[in-house]
Symmetry: D3
Amino acid sequence: MSHKIIRTIPRADAGTVGVLGACGVATVHEAQGRTGLLRPYMRPIYPTARVAGTAVTISIAPGDNLMIHASIEICKPGDVLVVAPTSECTDGYFGELLGVSCQAHGITGLIIDAGVRDTAELTAMNFPVWSKAVSSQGTVKNVPGDVNIPVVCAGALVNPGDVIVGDADGVVVVARERAVEVARAAEQRIAKEEKSRERLRRGELGLDFYGLRAKLTELGVEFVESAESVASVK
Amino acid sequence: MSHKIIRTIPRADAGTVGVLGACGVATVHEAQGRTGLLRPYMRPIYPTARVAGTAVTISIAPGDNLMIHASIEICKPGDVLVVAPTSECTDGYFGELLGVSCQAHGITGLIIDAGVRDTAELTAMNFPVWSKAVSSQGTVKNVPGDVNIPVVCAGALVNPGDVIVGDADGVVVVARERAVEVARAAEQRIAKEEKSRERLRRGELGLDFYGLRAKLTELGVEFVESAESVASVK
Amino acid sequence: MSHKIIRTIPRADAGTVGVLGACGVATVHEAQGRTGLLRPYMRPIYPTARVAGTAVTISIAPGDNLMIHASIEICKPGDVLVVAPTSECTDGYFGELLGVSCQAHGITGLIIDAGVRDTAELTAMNFPVWSKAVSSQGTVKNVPGDVNIPVVCAGALVNPGDVIVGDADGVVVVARERAVEVARAAEQRIAKEEKSRERLRRGELGLDFYGLRAKLTELGVEFVESAESVASVK
Amino acid sequence: MSHKIIRTIPRADAGTVGVLGACGVATVHEAQGRTGLLRPYMRPIYPTARVAGTAVTISIAPGDNLMIHASIEICKPGDVLVVAPTSECTDGYFGELLGVSCQAHGITGLIIDAGVRDTAELTAMNFPVWSKAVSSQGTVKNVPGDVNIPVVCAGALVNPGDVIVGDADGVVVVARERAVEVARAAEQRIAKEEKSRERLRRGELGLDFYGLRAKLTELGVEFVESAESVASVK
Amino acid sequence: MSHKIIRTIPRADAGTVGVLGACGVATVHEAQGRTGLLRPYMRPIYPTARVAGTAVTISIAPGDNLMIHASIEICKPGDVLVVAPTSECTDGYFGELLGVSCQAHGITGLIIDAGVRDTAELTAMNFPVWSKAVSSQGTVKNVPGDVNIPVVCAGALVNPGDVIVGDADGVVVVARERAVEVARAAEQRIAKEEKSRERLRRGELGLDFYGLRAKLTELGVEFVESAESVASVK
Amino acid sequence: MSHKIIRTIPRADAGTVGVLGACGVATVHEAQGRTGLLRPYMRPIYPTARVAGTAVTISIAPGDNLMIHASIEICKPGDVLVVAPTSECTDGYFGELLGVSCQAHGITGLIIDAGVRDTAELTAMNFPVWSKAVSSQGTVKNVPGDVNIPVVCAGALVNPGDVIVGDADGVVVVARERAVEVARAAEQRIAKEEKSRERLRRGELGLDFYGLRAKLTELGVEFVESAESVASVK
C-alpha cells in the first residue's frame, strides 16, 4: 500500500461557491435532487457556523492526525478540510493550534467524521467545524494516510475539489462538475420559495397550491368531521 | 387500510394550558405522577424554546410529509403538531415554509420524532421545535397517513386534544381529561418548592427536612469518618 | 452488602486546582499523558460551563437519587459531585433544588453519568453540569449506595479527592497524588503552545517545526503533483 | 399516585391466537395494515423462539422487578408478560427462577423493553424472551408499579388482553378487538403469497405480476442499456 | 431528477470471485490495504452465511422497495444485491418472496443498509443476507430510485460490478478493476499465515518473529518484573 | 509518559476460579453485591462461550494491537486477556492467529472493549471472546501501551490478577482479594436457588415466599378485580 498527497486539484469558481453558500444546506440538497447530504450526526460546534468552500479530502487512521498536518501546505484560500477516518473514531484530531494554522493558510472550515477539541477557542476564532463528537482525546502522528483521494465522510462520497456547504442544518457536498448547475437551480428554488412564503404567510394552504388534495383523495385519505370513532386512553 | 383526517377534537381550555406551560416540563411530569415524558432524545432546536398547546397528532410514513400539509387546515390557534413516523426516521420533514404556514394558522410549535431543517430560520421566527434530529434530508408526498388518531411519539402515547408542554428539559404530554387536575397539582408543587428552595438556600439539608436520615439507617447506610478502608488507585 | 458514606477525604490544594481549571480539559488531558478523559457523551448543559474542584464520588442505583441528598453534608466548598449509576440510566436525578442546596454548601458543579433537569434554572444560577442526558424523569429515594468510594464514571476511574476539570470540551479527572505534577506540566504545555501558535499564525507549517516531513517519507507517503491518477465520480 | 394490579382482563380466543402465531410476525403486521410492530431492537434470546398469547402488561420502575413478581398470580395459561420500564433501562429484570415460575403458571413467554439474564437456562427450558438487552444486572423490589394498564413497549401501545406474536423477526401486537379480523386477513395473505411464491419460483418477475412496470414509467425511471454514463471510482 | 436502471455492467470473472470468497472477508480486507470494509453493524442473519459475487447496486428511498423489484431482471447468476437507502432506515425491505425470486434468477445474496424480514425462511432457504436490522416493517412501492449507480453502503463506496465478499466477520467490497490483484494478494497472505500459524502453534511469540521487540524498546515500553509500583483497588 | 509491561501478577487459586466459573456470571454478580458487571454490549462470539480465569490487563491505543502481542509471553495457563482501548474503537484487534498463539500459551479467552475478527475460526477453535463488535478492520503496531495496569473495560474497573467470568449473559469481574469469599457466597446462592426453584416449579408464588405481599400493601399497590376503569385504545 502506497499513500499519497495530491498537490493539485480542480476547484469550482469562487462565485459559484459563494452562491451555494448563500443558499444554504437544505436548499442546495434539494436543488441537486436530494443527494449529497452527510449524516445528521454531523453537528456544528457553534450554532451560527457557516461555510462554503472546496473540499480537500483526508483519509486518516483512527487516533492519528498526521495527515491533517500533511494536508495544509497543499491547500488554497477558500478550501475546507474533509477528514474521514478509516474506521469509526471519536478522538479529538483537531484543536486550536491546527485552527490557527488553517486560518493562516486561508482554510475556512473543517468537516470531520470524528472528534474535535478546543471548541471554545475555535468558536472565539470563528473557525467553523462540523463533527461527530467533541472530545479532548489526543491523537498520535504515526500512521500514513492519503490527501485528495475520494473519501466517504459521514455516509457521503466526497471527491477532492467538490464543493462543501455547511450551516446549522448540517453539511452537503456538491460534485464540482455539477456546481454551476446546482447553484442555478438553488437560486431558482429560493426565488420560488419566496413566492410560496408570501402565499403561506397570508394563510393559503400548501394542500391547495401544491395540489395535494387530489393526492389525498387518490390515496383514500378521508376528512372525517367528528372524532367519535377514535377512542382515547384515559 | 383506510386513512382519515379527524377535523374536530376536544381541547383543554386555554387557561389550563397556560398554567401547565408556566409550570414547565419537570414540574408537570412530577405533578401527574412521573408519567407522560417523551424520551430524552427529543431536544429543542434552540435553548429558549418553550411551548404549551393542544396536540394535533399526525401518523406519517418514513420520508413522507404529505400528512403534515394535510393537517394544517384542521388546526386552531394554540395547537401544537405532534408527528410520529410509523418507523424510525431522521429525515427533515419540516422546514421554514411549513413553519410560516403554521404561524399563519396560529400553530405554536412542533414535536417530531424525526428530523427538522431550516433550524436557523425557524429559530429566527421563534417557532419552537423539539426533534430527534436536525436533517436537511427532503421528503416526498406520496404515502397516506392519519391525522388525530392516538400515536406513540418518542415512547409516549399522545391522544389528539392532549396538552403538550415543551421547554429546555424536553417534552411532556398531559391527558386532556386530567389537565385541570394536573395544572392544580403543578401549581401546588411550585408553591411547595418555593418553601423548600428558601430552606435549602439557607443551608438546611434535604436529608433533614425530607426525613431521609431514618431511611439511610433503615437501609444500612453508615456514615464513616475516615477514608482509611478505601484504597485509591495511583 | 453494607453501604457507607465516607466523611473525610484528602483534597488537592486550591492553588493546584485553580491552575488545572485555568488550563482546561484538553491541555490537562495531554499533560497527564492522554489519560483520565470521560467519554465524549458527557456534555455541559450550557456552552460556557467551566469547573475545577475536588471529586466527591457517589455510587447510586438507577432511578434513585437518595445518595445525592446524603452526600451534601460531607462536602466542602470547592467540591464537585461525581455521580455514577450502577447501571446505565438517563433519569433526571438532579434539578434546581439540589442545585440551590449545592450552592448553599459551596459545591461548584456536577458530573453525572445520567440525566439532569431544570437545565434553564441551573443555567440561570450558573451551576455547571456535565451529563449524559437532559431528562425530567423523576427518581425515587429508596435504594442504598455509597459516597466517596472509587467509581467508574463515563468510562473513567474517579477516586474521591481526585481533581475534576470540566469545560466546553468535556471532563477530565486528575489523580490527586499527581495533581501538582500535572498542573506544572499543563502550564509548561501552555507556554510551549503559545510559541507554536505564533509560528503557525505566521504561516509556518506544523509539518516543518514538528519535524513530520521525515516521518511521511519514512512511512512511504509521497507528494504527487497531479490528480491525474485519481478518478472522480460524476 | 395510586398503583393497581387488575386481576381480570378480556382475552382473545385460543384458536385466533393460534392462527396469528402460525402466521408469524411479518404476515400479521402486514395483515393489520402495517401497524403494531415493536421496535427492531427487540430480539429473541434464541433464534427459534416463537410465541403467541395474551398480553399481561406490566409498568415498572427502572431497576426494580417487584411488579413482575406481583403479576404472576393473575395470569392464565397462554399469557405472555409484556414489561415496560417507565424510563430506559437495560437491567436484568428476569432470570431462570422467574422463568420456572412462569412455566408453572402456564405463561408462555416474555416481552421486555429492558434486559434479561440466565439466557442459557431460559433457552434450555424453551422459555422464549424478546428483550432490548442481555444483562446480569440485578434489580431491587422497592418501587410500586401497575399490572394490566395500557403501556408503551418498545414504541408500540399494548393494552392488556391484546394478542402478542413473537418470532425470529421480532414482535407484533394485535388489538384484541381486531384479532379475529386480522387472523382472517393473515390467513388470506398466506394463501395469496403461496401463489406468488410459485410464480416467482418459476422465474416470473414481481415487476410484472405486481404491475410495477407502469409505475416505473410513471415515475420517470428509465431502463438504460449501457453503463457508459456512470463513471466508476478506481 | 431522472432515475435509471443500467442493464449492463462489467463483472469480474467467476474464478477470481471464487478465490476472494474462499479467502474470506478479513483476509481480502487486508490484501487490499485495509480498505473496502462495510461498517461492523452489518451482520449476517445466520452465523454460517457466506457469499461472494458481483454487486448490483440499488439506491432506494426510505421505506420503499420498488427499486429492489426493478433490479431483478437485469441481474445475472452470481450477482449480489447491494441496497443503500438515501437516508437511514431500518424497515424490512426484503423478505422470503423476494428471496425466492432472487434464487430463481441466480442471485446469491443481499447486502442491505436497512432491515430484512422472514429471516427464519431466508435461513431455511440458505439465502444469505447482511443487514443493519431485522424488522418486519413493511415498505411501499411509490418512490423512484436507481439501479447500478455508485452507492455508499454502510460507509463503503460500492460501484456496480465490484466484488462483494460476506461472511461471519461482515462484508468487504473489492473494486472490480483490482479484483485479480487482490485475489492474488489474498492467496499469498493465506499461504504466509499458514506458516505463521504453525510457528505460533508451537509456542513461538509474534513479538519475536514479527520483530516487535525492537519496536517496544524504541517506543520506550519496558518490561518490569514486579507489580509493586501498581496499586490495586480493593 | 513511560509505558510498562508488568511480568508478575498475583492470581487467585485455580479452585476458586473454577467455582466462580461454574456458578456463572449472574450468580457471581449477585454474590458480590451486584457489582463488577461489564456493560451489556459485551457479547460472546458464540452462544456457548464460557470462561473463567485470571485477568491480564492491556491498555491499548485505538486501532493498534502491538500491546496484545507484547502481553502473551507474560501470561500463564488459565489467564484471560482483558483489552481496553484508550478511546472508543471497534477495530478488529484480534483474530485467528492471535487465538492460536493464546491457546499455545494456555490463555483461555479474550475480553475486548473493541472488535474481533476471524470469528468463525475462533469459534471452531473453541476460543471464547466477548467483544463490543465483530469487525475485520485491521490494526497497526506503532503505539505504546501498558500490560497489567488497572484498566476500565466496558465500564468496569479491572485490576491485573482479578478473576474474570464470562458466559452467555456477559462478563463479570471479581476482585482477586474477594474471590474466595465471593465463590463461597455464590455457591450458597446456588444452593438456596435450588430450593426456590423447586417451590416455584410446584406453583408457589415468589410474592408469597419472598414475603412481597406486605411490600405491595405498604407501597399502596392494590389488587383490583375488574378492568372497568382502564379504557383500551381500539
